[in-house]
Subunit: 273 residues, 3 copies
């Protein structure tokens, strides 16, 4: 199934509009190109709305949030909804500050998201209206483990049902659910968290996958999460004892550039619950 | 001839002011350093005008355009004109949105550009006042091929004469013309389009080449286009079957760092029409 | 001693808030992760103040300065002071423009900095209220050499005493002083200056080291300067005759990721005066 989903990405070359942070934006653009998509970035209100209209999908990422770009996020999100375009939300740092938490909650209220992808701390903040986020990485106390997996699954499914969005919680074990069916994904490497923006890249990737597979948002999001994790595994095999997080970043994007739909199908490690 | 032009860049180490997008700005800075130039970025009105004055050249790139930076582009452009500094325009996404198209057209009207570099869709938008740009990449229908080359040449020459700027249209075949003489350049690799910002990097490079060769804007722009394409070829030879667009990006900048003026002279693939 | 200092960074994983330029921000984030720290970036006034409070340290870098982020710098700096967090200033381009010079001087007046790190031209600008900075690189006439080292040391010590901050002047020879004791450091490679943002990365690193070693700001800053230079040396050994400044950038961050406290202790090249 993931084979067909990825083939659609490669064949349709979805044009994805990203309103995103300036820390990891270059990597998001190269990751979109690597998977076969095409990126465009515009964050000024009038520009963003118009550019959303010529794109196939929208990725909203609230890192380095500011008052100038917030209205662009709301307006582009609503425009994408009108046009029936898939919209992804990456609530970077929700729970860290009032501005980020309130913007994310406001977006969730006014925009219909196809997929919301974050770490467990960020998603908890959105679901509960408060969080324990430590910086932009998931709080240790929050981590999804084999022990608390059942509870995390039921939390994620509940939030998916309430929002109508596919919820993707990524970490050591990834959870992707639409409230009915849930993918538990075990691709990836812990070393990926030593690279800035692997989460941001995954959100951009998810937007491309959802755009190329408009009728299968759950499967598209799960395929994107598997693809990112699998590329993390492939890239890790390439690491020498001189390589660190900077080369690893390059190798992961390279791996996505080289990944075939058949390899994704074979390498995806998940169970459906 | 390109040997001397590149030697001037290496020897004079031109300081280039860039008002550019936040997606590819890091690569532009490293590309400028790789060619022997020196980058500075400032996009706040008062800062930009003052910094333009201490630089040798200016590169204006309208990606991730916003209301705060637009006045800085106009003011810095005019200041550079007063000082006789070369100014390059990269109309990223002209034709995609009203803001980008109108800003690019406004800049062309109020600032005297030494070189305008874009893909065929962007340049057509500027010439015709409308475009068919698909995102930030050239529209397929617009692509310059051997079949439509004569028409594209005459279009480019006409636009160069009307604007007084050297026009550089880059794609599978690159066209660089001042309206009288035209370089048709066949350096480069199609895989370069899978890297975000190779066009932006080329515009920054062109600004460095034009700054170090103030009396030869046409030759400087053509040399920069050849150098970028040649580095794309050299870097491609280095690619292993694990490398993708992210490593390719690094290798192209590396190749520029290593490129000698004599190698550029030998490797440049062009005809003058 | 540097061994223990670096061990503290690895063990405490300091969360560092960066208000920094968009040119080199991604490299700063990856460098912070490479050393064992954790980065967060926020530059909008209300967001920045709140995020400073949940972090352990603050790094203020004035590259690509604008009117929106200046108030965030002042407010976050004051908040960090109230909380007793280490604050680092990187006065990128002070002396180049009025906005940068005045912002840096204003910050020095209103915020108590733990460390100020810049090149000799930038630090001279701050000390003398005027400068000869050529772009964002140190002016040749300013360079610290064996010949003028004694004078530079006395200048740096004087400025450290006046400001109460540790002053780190980096170049061919690095000077790190609190006005009483001075580290003269000879780690590093001249080729590092062909990479954009090695200075910015060092400032971010210094913030992480100072945050993890709150009672030893002088030693923390000196250790960070040695670590950066040592990684430049280690990474240089890895360079092939195809590699240039872009791969070198990756290799330096990789080297920091791999560097052990014991290697830093052994490789640090300095004398205390």
């Amino acid at each position: 199934m993931f084979k067909e989903i990825f083939e659609n990405v490669r064949q349709k070359s979805p044009l994805v509009h990203n309103i995103t942070n300036y820390v990891t934006v270059n990597d998001c653009a190269n990751m979109l190109l690597a998977c076969g998509g095409s990126p465009i970035m515009a964050d000024e209100l009038e520009d963003a709305v118009e550019i959303t209209a010529i794109c196939g999908g929208l990725n909203i990422n609230i890192g380095t949030l500011n008052q100038r770009t917030i209205p662009a996020m709301f307006a582009a999100g609503k425009r994408a909804n009108e046009l029936g375009h898939p919209v992804v939300l990456d609530p970077v740092g929700a729970g860290v500050s009032t501005l980020r938490t309130e913007t994310a909650l406001g977006l969730l209220k006014e925009v219909e998201f196809t997929v919301v992808r974050g770490n467990i701390s960020e998603i908890k903040t959105l679901a509960l209206g408060s969080g324990t986020t430590k910086g932009v990485d998931a709080d240790v106390a929050d981590k999804v483990t084999e022990e608390n997996l059942t509870g995390a699954l039921s939390f994620a499914k509940d939030f998916a049902r309430r929002t109508g969005a596919v919820i993707a919680i990524t970490g050591a074990i990834d959870i992707v659910t639409d409230g009915e069916r849930t993918f538990c994904i075990r691709n990836g490497r812990p070393e990926m968290s030593a690279i800035t923006g692997t989460g941001c890249q995954l959100s951009a990737l998810t937007a491309a996958f959802a755009t190329a597979n408009p009728d299968q948002p759950l499967e598209a999001a799960a395929a994107a999460v598997c693809a990112m994790g699998l590329c993390g595994e492939i890239a890790y095999q390439r690491m020498t004892n001189l390589d660190g997080n900077s080369s690893y970043r390059n190798y992961i994007i390279d791996a996505m550039y080289r990944l075939t739909p058949a390899e994704l199908e074979r390498g995806a490690s998940y169970e459906v619950r």
